[in-house]
């Protein structure tokens, strides 16, 4: 009895998956439960397991190919079983991975062209993808420079470090595309990864239909910083980060304010009695928001350990779906990247997200005198369908009291 | 100049096989029989795929190893060629360790890293089987150099095949050994063929002991290698010269191998005839000693049968041990490339 291997929904939001690697070759004996392949979902790389016994007779898609959930990607059958009917009935799979492809330089309809006097003296790179040094590629990625729009000054038009630096510095005037780039479509198409597609779709959903407003407050973190230092002096077991203290405070404040700890469900609002705190983590692939469940009931040490563990797993793409779904409210912190203040985009169906800025030594008036204090700006994005201005403000008041008097976190 | 008996293993004016001191004879017989049965078993293991690579059996030449090595002290040194199983056993390397090495196992005398051609054993100063013809002859001279440097009275025995006399390293080593008076026995096991090329077809002087004439102070001696007593007596003289006068000797021991060069060639029929092989087999060094002892009344048939049984048990034990010894762990791959300490 033949068993079809389907692209399965391996994450709650997965609509299609990229088959990263076949773990079993064609012809391999497989048992139900064996890992057949690794599949990149919108969130992580997951295992696709066999649902029947027999021989993996056919791999219907190649490694690197993306297939929609529910499509047939392989066939398990007896070694001699006739599976021709299954094979012919299966929809044609995409032929190859959608690897980065350069636009063709010349129209395929002009095969005889090159001989004429028009044959340009363009650099040899004219017909290929953008030539660039490995370093230039890395720098471009880091600084968000589009390599295709940079004129290369190296041999053969190679884009090198100084070109990227000039482009990043806004030296647009210095950039003149070589002739080759104008005459040929010298650009690169980069297919969307699953995670990027999901981010785009969901963030667009957010900024569009969600009527968002923002509340910013500046907290005095001096005591929180002192507390952290005192705790750290007690030994390694007591070392936590300022971010851990913020997470703990937010969770505690949320427990006191269920009116902001809620989901907008279209036809209803669900207010939560438990606090499942999402923490945004930047990974090489993009943003992911693992969850600290029941964060309000956890001590600082547990939160610290758990947040570190989740962040590590996120970066290694080892999170399981249950670790990044189910949050009731989220926190995003760019303080470590010296961002003073920013607005974060709500992760629906949640109704609020808190954006944490950098700690800064700031002169402020304390008891009538100027003092230098550690200050931190937080900005809360609120879904106005659920949270009104005063409601959000009250939550921030509570949060301020806790962070400015961190002893409260102990009770 | 030492006397050179015009004798060879083919039996022309060959030594009369005689029995000697009964206890010593028994010991030597046991040593030779162990080598014989061990090598037969090695051939069997090779056929079963338990031993791999190049493998050169010693069958027929046992009187050479036993005759020479039985005269050595434990602190003397032995170095030789890739045909080294018999010498390792004669030197006292445990049959288990030699068989385990052949099987490529962790309990081998070279921890499974050497194989048939590279038996080493520090405890018995067995400095290895070496795989490049002639390359180890300077090493043997170097061991002699170290002995002399330290003012010791040990000797080094350097075994080699007949083909070695035609390679440059042989000449360079013998020249310096004579020049610097190094206590080394250069022992040519002349089994008449370097692989399939006979001595006559390879050496411009086929009386190989005459090579010693080129080096002042070096004795060149021809010995009947099918008679363990002849080998032993000649070894005694050469060893005494080395120990007391620090003088090197060149011993040409005329012997014969009863098997092919290695495991993949015909025993006879190409470069040598079946008749020739059979003629030499009538001079078998192991059975010659046995027969001489039985005739002299120093060995009964029952004792012989018991000796066969004991040796068979030892060899079987070596096999079983090797078979059960683990393969070297993968981690051993990168071990012993370099010593990782400096003194």
């Amino acid at each position: 009895m033949a068993t079809k291997v389907f692209m399965e929904a391996l994450s709650p939001t997965m609509e299609e998956g990229r088959l990263v690697k076949w773990n079993k070759p064609e012809g391999a004996a497989v048992k139900s439960g064996d890992v057949l392949a690794e599949v990149e979902t919108d969130k992580a790389v997951m295992e696709l397991v066999a649902r029947g016994d027999g021989v993996l007779r056919k791999q219907m898609i190649a490694e690197g190919v993306t297939a929609p959930v529910g499509s047939v990607v392989g066939v398990i059958a007896g070694a001699d079983e006739d599976i021709s009917a299954l094979l012919s009935a299966a929809p044609a799979a995409p032929a190859a991975a959608a690897a980065p492809v350069a636009a063709p330089a010349a129209s395929p309809a002009a095969p005889a062209a090159p001989a004429g006097p028009i044959a340009s003296s363009a650099a040899p790179a004219a017909s290929g993808p953008v030539r660039s040094s490995p370093l230039a590629r890395r720098l471009a990625k880091e600084s968000g420079v589009n390599l295709a729009a940079v004129a290369g000054s190296g041999p053969g038009g190679r884009v090198i470090k100084r070109d990227v630096e000039a482009a990043a510095a806004g030296g647009a005037s210095a950039i003149s595309r070589p002739l080759s780039a104008i005459s040929g479509a010298d650009f690169t198409d980069e297919p969307l990864t699953q995670i990027r597609k999901t981010i785009a779709k969901r963030l667009a959903e957010s900024i569009g239909p969600i009527p968002t407003f923002y509340l910013t407050a500046e907290f005095d973190m001096t005591r929180a910083v002192e507390m952290r230092a005192q705790a750290a002096a007690l030994g390694d077991d007591f070392k936590v980060s300022v971010n851990d203290i913020v997470l703990k405070a937010v969770a505690t404040a949320l427990a006191a304010h269920p009116e902001v700890n809620a989901h907008w469900l279209g036809d209803k609002i669900r207010y939560f009695n438990r606090v499942h705190l999402g923490m945004a983590v930047a990974t090489n692939d993009g943003l992911i928001v693992p969850v600290i469940f029941d964060a309000d009931r956890k001590g600082l040490r547990d939160i610290s350990m758990e947040s570190r563990d989740l962040a590590k797993k996120a970066r290694e793409r080892k999170l399981t779906p249950d670790q990044y779904t189910g949050s009731t409210f989220s926190v995003s912190n760019l303080g470590m990247m010296q961002i003073d203040q920013f607005t974060a985009i709500i992760n629906p169906p949640e109704c609020g997200i808190l954006a944490i800025g950098a700690l800064e030594d700031t002169p402020v008036v304390v008891d009538g005198a100027i003092a230098v204090r550690k200050r931190m700006r937080v900005t809360m994005s609120c879904d106005h369908r659920v949270i009104d201005g005063a409601v959000g403000a009250r939550f921030l008041q509570t949060l301020r009291r806790m962070l400015e008097n961190p002893l409260m976190l102990v009770f | 100049m030492a006397s050179k008996k015009k004798t060879d293993a083919k039996g022309e004016a060959r030594s009369v096989r005689t029995a000697g001191d009964p206890a010593l004879d028994r010991e030597m017989l046991q040593s030779m029989l162990l080598q014989r049965r061990f090598e037969e078993k090695t051939g069997e293991a090779y056929a079963l795929g338990k031993v791999g690579g190049f493998c050169h059996l010693y069958i027929g030449q046992e009187a050479v190893s036993t005759g020479i090595i039985s005269q050595l002290r434990p602190d003397d040194y032995v170095i030789g060629t890739y045909r080294d199983h018999g010498q390792a056993l004669a030197r006292g390397v445990a049959p288990r360790a030699v068989m385990a090495e052949l099987f490529g196992r962790i309990d081998g005398c070279s921890r499974g890293k050497g194989g048939s051609m590279h038996m080493f054993d520090r405890h018995t100063n067995f400095l290895g089987g070496h795989g490049i013809v002639g390359s180890h002859v300077p090493l043997g001279a170097g061991v002699g150099f170290a002995i002399k440097y330290r003012g010791g009275d040990q000797v080094c025995v350097c075994f080699m095949g007949d083909s070695v006399v035609n390679i440059g390293a042989f000449h360079e080593a013998l020249n310096m050994a004579a020049l610097w008076k190094l206590p080394v026995l250069f022992v040519i096991e002349n089994n008449r063929y370097g692989m399939g090329t006979s001595v006559e077809r390879a050496a411009a002087v086929d009386d190989l002991s005459r090579r010693a004439d080129g080096y002042k102070g070096m004795d060149g001696i021809v010995i009947d290698g099918m008679d363990v007593h002849s080998v032993r007596e000649a070894a005694a003289k050469a060893i005494a010269r080395a120990r007391t006068e620090s003088l090197p000797s060149l011993l040409e021991i005329r012997t014969y191998r009863f098997r092919g060069h290695s495991m993949s060639d015909a025993v006879s029929g190409t470069y040598r005839s079946k008749d020739e092989l059979e003629e030499y087999q009538t001079m078998d060094p192991v059975f010659s000693l046995r027969d001489a002892m039985v005739i002299a009344g120093t060995l009964t048939v029952a004792e012989w049968e018991q000796m066969e049984k004991d040796v068979a048990a030892t060899v079987q034990d070596a096999w079983d041990f090797a078979d059960q010894s683990p393969e070297p762990p993968a981690g051993a791959l990168y071990e012993d490339v370099l010593v990782d300490t400096t003194s």
């Binding site: - | 921890r111 090493l139 440097y149």
Partner: protein, 326 residues
């Protein structure tokens, strides 16, 4: 600090180590009565006697093998080859005996031996006497290969080599013996397997060793006048190579030139480039360029010889090429 020649530095190293350990002896052609073909062993026969400073016949294979055998039996020989060109006659003992012994004996017999002598081209010595063998020797697991360029490095490395329990090859340079440099009068050792940054700069790495380290330093000084600052990494030990030093430098400069005395094909530079592309791919702003001897036997004629050899001008051109400067 005293300034002495490379030759004297090696001589001091030998003298000190022979005084320190009576298992150490020197053997080779003309090392004794003649005081050394290049006078490296000057005075040692007188000081240590003919038991420990041994004039050998011209028989590289033989005396190299005697060295290995004596090392197996507990001595610590220093074998001098009059030049590495002649050592080809003894390569069997270096490769098949010394380098293999520890491994094929399952760790039982190590070979604490030093093979040393001049390597590379001098002046107009022709094809058979002008060869650099770094890559030949560094290819072999089981030996260490050193290539000191300065008197300081020569002394510190040779002393470490003699104390090392492994076979160590020391590649000296005929043209280096007369060069001078500071060498401390107190005892010191240089660890094997560690590179030395001879010049510090952020614009381009030059990875090199031996005689070529001197060329690289000249290049660095010259380019500094044009405000180009090169990082000169003198490998000192070719095997095992200090890859971390290479990575650190290339990650800083994003550009590298590998300068070696020998030939191009399968040369040391090829290996260095491989290490760089594996570990520093995303740090490179230009392909790594190699500077080496022309791919021909060394000619005798003075003008041809000059063209054939790697030199400062070729290295400067290479640095500018990887910096996209002309």
């Amino acid at each position: 600090m005293p300034i002495i020649t490379y030759r004297e530095a090696l001589n001091q190293a030998l003298r000190e180590e022979m005084s320190r350990d009576d298992r150490v002896y020197l053997m080779g052609e003309e090392v004794g009565v003649y005081n050394g073909a290049y006078k490296v062993s000057k005075g040692l026969l007188e000081e240590f006697g003919e038991n420990r400073v041994v004039d050998s016949p011209i028989a590289e294979l033989g005396f190299a093998g005697i060295g290995v055998g004596s090392a197996m039996a507990g001595l610590r020989p220093v074998i001098e080859f009059m030049t590495w060109n002649f050592a080809l006659l003894a390569i069997d003992q270096v490769v098949n005996s010394a380098a293999k012994m520890l491994y094929m004996s399952g760790g039982q017999f190590n070979v604490p031996i030093v093979f040393r002598g001049p390597n590379g081209a001098a002046l107009q010595l022709g094809a058979q006497h002008s060869q650099a063998f770094e890559s030949w020797l560094a290819h072999i697991p089981g030996i260490k290969v050193l290539s000191p360029g300065t008197p300081y490095d020569a002394k510190g490395l040779l002393k470490s080599a003699i104390r090392d329990d492994n076979p160590v090859v020391v590649l000296e340079g005929e043209m280096l013996y007369n060069t001078k440099g500071e060498v401390p009068d107190h005892e010191y050792l240089i660890p094997l397997g560690k590179a030395d940054r001879k010049r510090e700069g952020g614009d381009c790495s030059i990875i090199t060793s031996g005689k070529m380290a001197l060329v690289a330093m000249q290049v660095a000084d010259q380019l500094a006048k044009e405000d180009i600052h090169v990082d000169v990494i003198d490998l000192l030990t070719i095997r095992p190579m200090d890859v971390e030093a290479i990575y650190e430098s290339v990650r800083k400069t994003n550009r590298a030139v590998v300068l070696e005395e020998g030939w191009e094909i399968c040369g040391i530079g090829a290996q260095v480039v491989d290490f760089i592309q594996r570990e520093c791919f995303d740090d490179l702003d230009a392909p790594v360029i190699r500077v080496h001897q022309a791919d021909v036997p060394m000619p005798y004629a003075k003008n041809l010889e000059k063209i054939a050899k790697p030199d400062a001008a070729k290295t400067i051109a290479a640095v500018k090429q990887v910096m996209y400067r002309s």
